[in-house]
Amino acid sequence: MNLVHRAGRTPAERQPDPSLPHRPEAGRPAEGGSSRTFRTRRAWPLATALVALSLVASACGGDGQGSQAAQDDRCVKEFDASKDYFPVKQTIRHATNFTLTYAKNYQVVTVKQPAPGAKPQTYVLVRCGTPAPKAEGELKDAVVVETPVRTLFASSTTHLPFITDLGVLDRLKGVASAGLITSPQVRERVAAKQIIEYADITGQEIDTEKVIGARPDVLMTDGNDVPAHQTLRNAGIKIVANAEWQETSALGRAEWIKFVAALTGTEAKATEVFDKVAAAYQELAAKAKQAEPVSVLPGQMFQGQWAIPNGESFMAKLIADAGGTYAWADTKGTGSTNLDLETVLSKARDAEVWLPQMNDWKSLEDVRKADPRYAEFAAFKSGKVWSMNKVLGPGGGNDFYERGVGRPDLILADLVAILHPELMPGHTFTFYQQLAR
Amino acid sequence: MLSLRSLSVGYPGRRRRPARRVLEGLEAVARPGDLTVLIGPNGTGKSTLLRTLAGLQPALEGQVLLDGSPITALDEVERARRIAVVLTERDLPALLTARELTGLGRHPHTGFTGRLTAADQAVIDWALQVTGAAHLAHRPVTELSDGERQRVLTARALAQEPSAILLDEPTAFLDVPSRVALMGLLRRLARERSLVVVVSTHDLELALRIADRIWLIDPAGALHCGTPEELTLNGTIGASFDGEELTFEAASGVFVLHGKGRGTARVTADGTRRPLLERALTRAGWHPSPEGPADLAVTWTGEAYEAVRDGTAHRFTSLADLTDWARHEANR
């Protein structure tokens, strides 16, 4: 059911995509011209010539000079079998859910688990203008995509920071639903109709006609396969799974920028961006490691049941990297478990810091209204309650799940500043804010 | 005493639907001590009338008076203390014993919690005893037979200590002995307790035999009141119930086949045998003529039946053979 499906994908929020590559501009003037010249006999042959010319012009296509130029540089004119077409090679060090290997003129990307329990998917990213390899062996069922892609659609807000940081935002032509996007640049482009929204307001129902009509070079999904995707595949749309949310480490998730780079041909930029982020992250982690670990209480409860992240989950690793510890750090699993309030009280009542994940809580009064029993916790009493809802988009989307995906260093900085304020004096918080008293 | 004054019964009108009158202008009286039986062909409105008398449906016009006061003037509890009913509903709750069911009849007399005092228990005991259901007291009602169930429901009605009991087709679904027993019981109750008892039934012959008063609703919707003999004599019964094949015979008080036989027959036999032979021959198609010439003469010789027709004599040892032959003769 949709409910569970979406609940599991908390960071996945939909984006709208206003701009589509249009071709109609060339056609219109012709029609306008022919109606005016009906009146005089002398203008008749002239009109016919005009019509013919404009029809020819429209048949050639092209939606502006930018993509015209890109088209000229994009594809290889003469294929040289001995040339290595990938001068910058990316290596994947932190992400565990995809692999990237290079051949001379194509890359092979395998996403191990696009969705929980799903089979691995392989993509062959062939440099445009070069021949694709034979579809045999492990490449048998692979999706072949010509790179670098000119236009792409993205289904999840978590993909947006990668696209923006790589500087290829102009190639983004469609998002599923724009409601929860926080990035002002993307929202601007949506409003200006440069990016279209190809699904309904919930982001679930894909308007296949829109997608097929727009013909993006590639459609990036978050890994979940819906029946509409098959329709799109049948129509020749290339669908790839950008399943960064399946990673359990923050750096692993951020490293998926390299996936988008492999598609768009911006490997150099990706390496630059990611190396900076990784370096900052690791420096922070090293600093935090030297301090005394601080006890943390993650999550919050509803109807007396507390959702506690398991020991191998994303949140657990972040807490560990930030120099924190929590009572369930040695449990197994990457999801969360529903625990009784009693258990949480007995094990974590005296945790120093509480990190709930509620978009709606701005003050401790909000917390008390939700359930007065939170007051039993030491962290509540001392006021050390921080939620990551500092930046919320106009549609209610949380930037922690958008920009935060690409910038785990900023998240870690916030966390280290919360747990060890003495290590980060004068820090400005990006995503986290302390709840007001 | 239960009186009907210009009573019209039926279903009240709603928006866009006019009132449906089932019966109108009814005038009748049911006296205490009488067993009043309500008869009439199907669809004439017997149930509607009884429901109106019980207060379950409002009268469209006119009044129902109980001991002089209209029943609409009584509040529900007071009415419940005066009138009790036995309805046609057959759904009984599980897990109630006959005694508990009878005890429900004390409802208008008990206090707020419904607790039964010793006096209430005495009434229940009496009700069960008088209906012959005392031995069933601790059996669950869903395990009782139809006849037993009707007794218990009657006991429940009696437990209300009413002055009038109305019963809607209580003998439907009962076998003949139970039917007879129930009607006998009702008659006895009417007499011994001076109750007004109004029963509706389809069993015409039993009704005419046992009722003190008959209320007959004819197919035209008119109500005729009188003793069974009065209504038989003035032809009302015949007019309402005679059919193509059967007619009501006043003398015997039963339905007989039409005497349009092949011919006449004269029967010579003793007192018991003669009417039975006549009945069998009527069924076979020979109309009995007690005196005078007849087409067929049947005599019981003491050992066998002798039948003479057209001068030919036939001898039969069994009544069945005689009857079959007579039928065969009639169809020749």
């Binding site: 908390t10 | 009913v85 208008p108």
Partner: protein, 355 residues
Amino acid sequence: MTEPAFAPAARRRTAVMAVLAAAVAVSFVLAVALGSTTIPLDQAVAALLRLENADPGAQTIIWTVRLPRAITALLAGAALSVAGVQMQTLFRNPLAEPYILGVSSGASLGVALVVTGWGGLASAFTGGVAGLGRAGIVVAASAGAAAVLGLVLALSRRVRSVVTLLIIGVMVGSTTASLITLLLAYSDAQRAQQYLGWSLGSYSGTTWGDLALFTPVCTAALAAALMGVKPLNAMLLGENYARTMGVRVRRVRTATLLTASVLAGSVTAYCGPVAFLGLAVPHMAKLLLGTADHRVLMPASVLLGGAVSLVCCIATQAPGSGAVLPLNAVTTVLGAPVVIAVLLRSRAAQTGWAG
């Protein structure tokens, strides 16, 4: 009903009531003594009595978590069972239960509206739970239940047959369920998950503040229901017979619907929709007592309902691991086989409701 002629039946009933009372006491004690964390009995007692040497951790757990939960379970079980008896008698239907008129659907719709902040359509509205908190949920659930109750009562005056009312209730339930699905489809995952969690039912969400309101409302409604035993007994034979026995049928119908809905609605407001108790406990009580007489059936349902509910509450805390099972799963899994087994064994129930 004291019947000198048949003492064994009366003795059976007294014995059953005594056993039920004991069962309630024992299960209440167990609900306080057991939980996902192990607290030794002596410490539990000390914490309960707030002795000086009591461990503060144990005190917090006993007083903030276990006691409110146990009291809620007791009240909710009693309330739903009594409401179930009323519905089964009023509608003369063994499958009737407190939610049959759509009361819990109305409450669910109210909660869905609050939790989703009227849906994601008005993107600026980020109300949700935070704006109103738990009080918001309770108020919304009560308002939803009251709205449905009002509708049903208004219709019951115009509708002659009680079966029509039943069908209307089922239709109301279906309609609200569709509306809720619609609301959830247009909200984000976090909100939808909140609603889902609520709809699984829980006794752990009530605090002492909640109980300050829930207890008097529930007890008052229970008392009102118990006052109606006499007319309910008459209604066993159906509305026609009841009317001829002096029962003011319209009034009794309204009063019964009102108390049953307040009972069911208040439980739903604080605990979410709790499945199955209102359906199963009346049957269990009838079979234990061997009678349908409401004068014993109602008090027995109060006790049995409380005891069964407390047992379900204990069963939701899988001891040791701290993980919690959803309440509705437990009530159904525990209750359904019991009822089936009891029905198969009992002859009285086999003859069923009809004659």
